[in-house]
Amino acid sequence: MALASRNIRKYPGFFSMTLLCMVLLYAPLAVVAAYSFNDSLSITRWGGFSFRWYLDVFFGLEADKFRDAAWNSLSIAFLAATASTIIATAASIGMVRGGEFRAKPASFALISLPLMVPEIVTAVATLIFFSAIGFVRGYATILVAHIVFCIPFAYLPIEARLRGIEGTFEEAAQDLYASRGQAFRFVLLPLMAPGIVAGYLLAFIISLDDFIITNFVKGAGIETLPTAIFGAVKQGIKPNILALSTLMLLISIGFVTISYFVSRKGVKPGGHGAPETT
């Protein structure tokens, strides 16, 4: 084909560049996952296959610490994702269905700005804010901070979904005697559901994974999984950290997979329903 010469694969070095990127990205993960099954105290020398470090995570010396941290991480992720998804859903309806208002571009910038601000800046600012209002650092400060920085992540997929839903569905519902509330509940919400689920899962992972902001606002005596792992690593990496990291990786992959399938499935909200004729 005439186009073949423009095929990106024909550029010199394409293959080696790709390989290099893949190796840099995934080789460390593969090594961590592989060595989490290492039946040895060393993290570099292979000593046979075993589940001992997984058992160690759950029943070993540090098990209590990890269990508390996991509980904090999961409960904060659950609450922060729930709260930020609700806020993001309301915000997207205001932005997409609210008609034109003067502050619209500003509002959008405000919602998505946290994605662009360096996380360390947000972390410092949040810490200063909590100190200024005299908020005692602990579980609540982590939760509030997570809700806030999860909002833009929940917002983007929800907003994208809502934009694809034609306004005539809500009009049709109201035309058929549904109040605004009923039109939302029976028509708009089910149509938005895939976007909402995707936003929720994204927020959940982002919260579960956060280290920088959490580390700044958490205060003493409370850990989440990332801060607990960081703390443990400071005294040298033990193989149980590899097992714990691999578990977190699995959870993340699981969520991303669900999110992918949910946002792809769902009923197509195109509206015309493809009026092909027979």
Binding site: E166, T168, F169, E171, A172, A173, Q174, D175, L176, Y177, A178, S179, Q182, F186, V187, P190, L191, V267, K268, P269, G271, H272, G273, A274, P275, E276, T277, T278
Partner: protein
């Protein structure tokens, strides 16, 4: 023709709709009768959809009054108006089955479960989709979706049904079949239909009355016959069917008739419109079938010209005739077996309007 106010379904009085500076509806005065098949006809962008949305309650009006069965409904939201809409692209709820779509309005009205189920089934049978109750809208063809939209809008028993170009997404054959079906449904149910289209043939064949719109103004309201035979102005004459428009001057005004002189000097009698003045410039509309053709004669002041094109249309033959002023005039003659007269390109012919065929246009 004067109807008492009691059997009016929808009444609009001096309705204006503005989008910023743009006036989409200009002083609409309209009375739609109970049980009538009323059609809004006009070119794209003339405000048909806007007028429907105003009646349905999706757009607030800038000025004027809307009455439904004599009651003001201008301030009611759409869900408080006993009016349902068949949307242009149907807007069927994609996450619900066909049956749930049809049941939706009745459920929102708080009808009992048994009643809703019973009536949904009846409505689906009425539109011949009894076997499709469990399907999703995207598993239906365009024509089937259209029927579901119809059943959904009619199920709650509205006083008025609004239809926004419901046939435009269908292919030609299906469109013709649906015309007949829609008309039958309307007569069976007795619901007032307000039907929007830009297809004049659709309007002429289905409607009890037609409102012709242009640029947000209701140009003329009348039966298909009135609209076709007695257009009030140049826009309506031009938009509905084919016509020849001649410049003329009024030369004589009688009681009910007047005489106009065309540019070539031939005079044509026609029904007097409103308040004609001798000497005033005017336009005459003569339909292609309203002109009689004969071999050219030597009568000095007759309308005539040279045949430029002959198009055989089966039952008719259409001739394009170039008259001395340079304009083309369309003439249509029925092909009868007895009538052996045939004209071919290049023939010189004389044209004469049949009695009552010329229509005086006010502008």
């Amino acid at each position: 023709m004067e109807s008492s106010k009691e059997n009016l379904a929808v009444e609009l009085q001096g309705v204006f709709k503005k989008y910023g500076d743009f006036v989409a509806l200009k002083k609409i005065d309209l009375e739609i009768k109970d049980n009538e098949f009323f059609t809004l006809l006009g070119p794209s962008g003339c405000g048909k959809t806007t007028l429907l949305r105003v009646i349905a309650g999706f757009e607030e009006i800038s000025e004027g009054t809307i009455l439904l069965k004599g009651e003001r409904i201008g301030d009611l939201p759409p869900n408080k108006r006993p009016i349902n809409t068949v949307f242009q692209h149907y807007a069927l709820f994609p996450h619900m089955t066909v049956e749930a779509n049809v049941a939706f309005g009745m459920k929102m009205l708080g009808m009992s479960k048994a009643e809703v189920a019973d009536r949904s089934r009846k409505m689906l049978e009425m539109v011949k989709l009894g076997d499709f109750a469990g399907r999703r809208p995207n598993q239906l063809s365009g024509g089937q979706q259209q029927r579901v939209a119809l059943a959904r809008a009619m199920a709650p028993g509205p006083q008025v049904l609004l239809l926004d170009e419901p046939l435009s997404a269908l292919d030609l054959k299906l469109r013709h079949a649906m015309r007949v079906e829609l008309k039958q449904l309307q007569m069976e149910t007795g619901i007032t239909f307000v039907f929007v289209t830009h297809d004049q043939e659709e309007a002429l064949t289905m409607s009890d009355r037609i409102g012709v719109m242009d640029h947000g103004i209701l140009q003329q309201v009348g039966t298909p016959h009135e609209i076709y035979e007695k257009p009030v102005n140049r826009f309506v004459a031009d938009f509905i069917g084919e016509t020849n428009i001649f410049d003329a001057t009024i030369s004589h005004v009688g009681d009910a008739n007047c005489v106009c002189v065309l540019r070539n000097g031939s005079s044509v009698g026609c029904e007097a419109g409103s308040n004609p003045q001798v000497g005033a410039k005017c336009h005459l509309s003569i339909r292609p079938e309203g002109l009689e053709m004969s071999r050219a004669n030597d009568e000095p002041r007759s309308l005539g010209g040279r045949v430029e094109q002959v198009v055989y249309l089966g039952t008719d033959t259409q001739y394009l005739i170039r008259i001395p002023s340079g304009e083309l005039v369309t003439v249509r003659c029925q092909n009868t077996i007895a009538d052996g007269v045939n004209y071919s390109t290049g023939d010189e012919v004389a044209l004469k309007p049949r009695d009552g065929a010329a229509r005086l246009l006010v502008d």
